[in-house]
């Protein structure tokens, strides 16, 4: 074991980091030993990110750093059914649903039995087929947007490998939840999606824990889409409690692969989402949407880094943020166009709507272009509700709260209307409307 893993000058080390180190020590060894050790060593050397790190400048992690996180109970053997307390109202008949409790997928023998799909537990793979799994994991890096991925690689107890070989009829729904058991726990779910050439799938990840204050979910999802593959991915955070979510999505698109990605923040106390996308094959196309709702004292920080690595790649980012109460919403997006990515096209559109004087929205579009032959556009605006629209509705007898809600809803509609999955859209609308004033009236407007 290397020096960094020895308990040392611990006084200056944050309680969370000590807790993660303790979890590391307590882990059951598996076939990923070397890889996990390399990841943990880096994590401990670099420490938790702080606001001095470029991609973390808007998010203060002091509260998380100060928490002595316990490890959740091992749920591997429990085989819990779908947790009814957080069951989504939307589950189409042809969906494959898998509950992931504290990072442990609740697989039953039927889970993988469907055409075009292969599902494996990462824990099983780490023991029986570690070389295959190791080759799939994101390689360790010192980059500050990858800090939590390092920790996840070191500590994930289990997770899923989803191989998509055909065109799936129904969505794969992953319902993440945390149990906690009265104390603050940290879990590190890992999901790997490998879509073969020409495959098509909708993957929905919903983080909907039913009330575990101060818990931390450090989720990492990797998606690789082969040539001509089509992926639609949703990650929805609608946890009720004051839980903390850090979710990193690594996305790689091969030639002519297409991905629509939706990040929807509607719950939790702190939600930090990273989308780290590489458009690696020519003609690859990414449509990334962010619907970020700051409510009460919530902090939402969305970082997108989109790298155009090949010619004729296209990316569009559409972010709609609203902030009420004392919440803060950050949309930080960066597009990097490599020298070889001739004729790349990128578009960034970020609009923010402030609903209270104490709320804050920060938007930061960045472009880094290494070739001339590109088309890049970005636009960012933040404002308040348009008083003339509001007055028009009031003048028709609509009360103020309803008028405001309708305008907020309309503001977010750009993102909602592009969701291909109608059931998902309806489900998100329901969750969204519940956080707007006069939700009863709004329901009638759908």
């Amino acid at each position: 074991m290397s020096a960094a893993l020895r308990p040392g000058a611990a006084a200056s080390v944050a309680p969370a980091q000590r807790a993660f180190e303790a979890a590391w020590r307590a882990r059951a060894p598996d076939g990923l030993g070397f890889l996990r050790e390399a990841a943990m060593e880096r994590f401990l050397r670099l420490g938790l990110p702080t606001q001095r790190d470029e991609t973390w400048r808007y998010t203060n992690l002091r509260r998380i750093a100060g928490t002595n996180f316990g490890a959740p109970a091992d749920r591997k053997a429990s085989g819990d059914p779908w947790p009814s307390a957080v069951a989504p109202e939307y589950v189409p008949a042809n969906a494959l649903c898998i509950a992931i409790v504290d990072g442990h997928p609740q697989l039953d023998p039927a889970s993988g039995l469907r055409a075009g799909l292969e599902i494996r537990s990462l824990r099983d793979m780490a023991n029986a087929d570690a070389a295959t799994l190791a080759a799939l994991l994101v390689p360790p890096s010192d980059a500050d947007e990858l800090r939590w991925t390092l920790l996840n690689t070191a500590l994930f107890a289990d997770g899923l490998l989803i191989r998509v070989t055909g065109r799936l009829d129904g969505p794969v729904i992953l319902l993440h939840s945390m149990t906690g058991g009265g104390e603050a726990t940290a879990s590190h779910p890992r999901v790997i999606v490998e879509a073969a050439d020409g495959a098509a799938a909708t993957i929905i990840e919903r983080h909907a824990d039913g009330g575990v204050p101060a818990a931390l979910c450090n989720a990492v999802t990797q998606i690789r889409a082969g040539e001509n593959a089509t992926i639609e991915h949703y990650r929805l955070f609608d946890a009720e409690a004051a839980s903390n979510h850090i979710a990193t999505l690594h996305l790689r698109l091969a030639q002519e692969a297409r991905c629509k990605q939706f990040t929807i923040a509607l719950g939790g106390s702190l939600v930090r989402t990273d989308l780290l996308a590489s458009l690696e094959g020519s003609g690859a196309a990414l449509d990334a949407y962010a619907l970020l709702v700051g409510h009460l004292a919530r902090h939402v920080d969305c970082l997108n880094v989109v790298r155009h690595e090949a010619p004729h790649t296209t990316s569009a980012q559409t972010a709609r943020s609203i902030a009420s109460g004392t919440s803060r919403v950050v949309f930080n997006s960066k597009v990097v166009v490599a020298a070889r990515a001739k004729h790349a096209e990128s578009r960034q559109s970020s609009r923010g709507l402030l609903l209270s004087p104490d709320a804050e929205i920060d938007t930061r579009p960045q472009l880094e272009i290494h070739t001339d032959e590109v088309k890049c556009a970005h636009g960012a605006t933040t404002g308040r509700l348009d008083p003339s629209m509001l007055f028009y509705m009031l003048s028709r007898g609509i009360d103020r709260a309803t008028a405001q809600s309708l305008l907020v809803y309309a503001f977010l509609a750009d993102v909602l209307t592009d969701m291909s999955d109608a059931g998902m859209r309806a489900s998100i609308e329901t969750a969204l409307i519940a956080q707007l004033p006069d939700s009863q009236v709004l329901r009638a407007f759908r």
């Binding site: 007055f391 028009y392 009031l394 003048s395 007898g397 009360d399 309803t402 407007f445």
Partner: protein, 250 residues
């Protein structure tokens, strides 16, 4: 129906209305005419309750109630309607849903049962037919992408559905071709009855060929300079607004 006594108002620190006096009785149609900047639209907006228009003096009674004490939405529910000179586009909010919510807000306030979606659809289809509007308007967002004429027709459609006691139509005739003007006029005339009143705010006499006013007022410099019957409008058309000002000086 409406009694305006010595009403003064300012916008962005500038006095626009300087003591308006006007009485409109039930069953009457009044036309308020005047040059640009005379305060016509400000009067309309003040009556509707626009917040950035500050009332500095006077009072307004609507069926005996203090209109200025009511919020804009309360005025609407009490039976006041403003047809906007520039109807606002609201992307993402469905035109028909807005109207249904408006009607039900009014019905709730009056203690009447709400209309359900089915009843409402039948009602709006009938009114749209009357206004010669295509049913594509059913699915469109409020005024979004509407032409100038379509927006004005949509204002009248809203008025027909909401059946106000008092409608103030702010330059509803501007930007309309003659066919559209006739349709709008037909809409307004269909609402004329002994229990309602209409105030037409307009630049031109043309609208009054189709909606015959009981009284015509000339507004200038934030005051009503002259009032008369419909012949005043014809006189204005012939001799211009300067004639009114000069005749007062003389």
């Amino acid at each position: 129906m409406l009694n305006i006594v010595n009403l003064s108002a300012r916008v962005a620190g500038k006095n626009i209305l300087n003591g308006i006096n006007l009485d409109v009785g039930a069953g009457e149609v009044h036309a308020i005419m005047g040059p640009n900047g005379s305060g016509k639209s400000t009067l309309a907006q003040v009556l509707a309750g626009r917040e950035d228009y500050e009332v500095t003096g006077g009072e307004v009674r609507f069926e005996g109630r203090d209109l200025l004490a009511l919020k804009p939405e309360e005025r609407a529910r009490a039976g006041f309607f403003l047809g906007f000179q520039y109807p606002v586009e609201i992307p993402g909010v469905n035109n028909v849903y807005l109207l249904k919510a408006a009607l039900n807000a009014k019905r709730r306030a009056a203690g009447e049962p709400e209309v359900d979606a089915y009843e409402f659809l039948a009602l709006i289809k009938q009114k749209m037919k009357f206004m010669e509007m295509s049913e594509t308007f059913l699915t469109r967002a409020v005024n979004e992408g509407f032409s100038g004429g379509e927006k004005k027709r949509n204002e009248i459609l809203q008025m027909l559905v909401l059946e106000p006691k008092l409608a103030v139509l702010d330059e509803t005739d501007s930007g309309l071709d003659i066919d559209a003007l006739k349709i709008v006029a037909r809409g307004v005339n269909s609402l004329r009855d002994p229990k309602r009143a209409v105030i037409l705010v307009t630049h031109y006499q043309r609208l009054l060929d189709y909606i015959e006013p009981d009284r015509v007022h000339v507004l200038s410099g934030g005051r009503i300079l002259k009032s008369g019957d419909k012949s005043l409008a014809l006189e204005l058309e012939k001799r211009g607004y300067d004639w009114v000002r000069e005749s007062l000086v003389a």
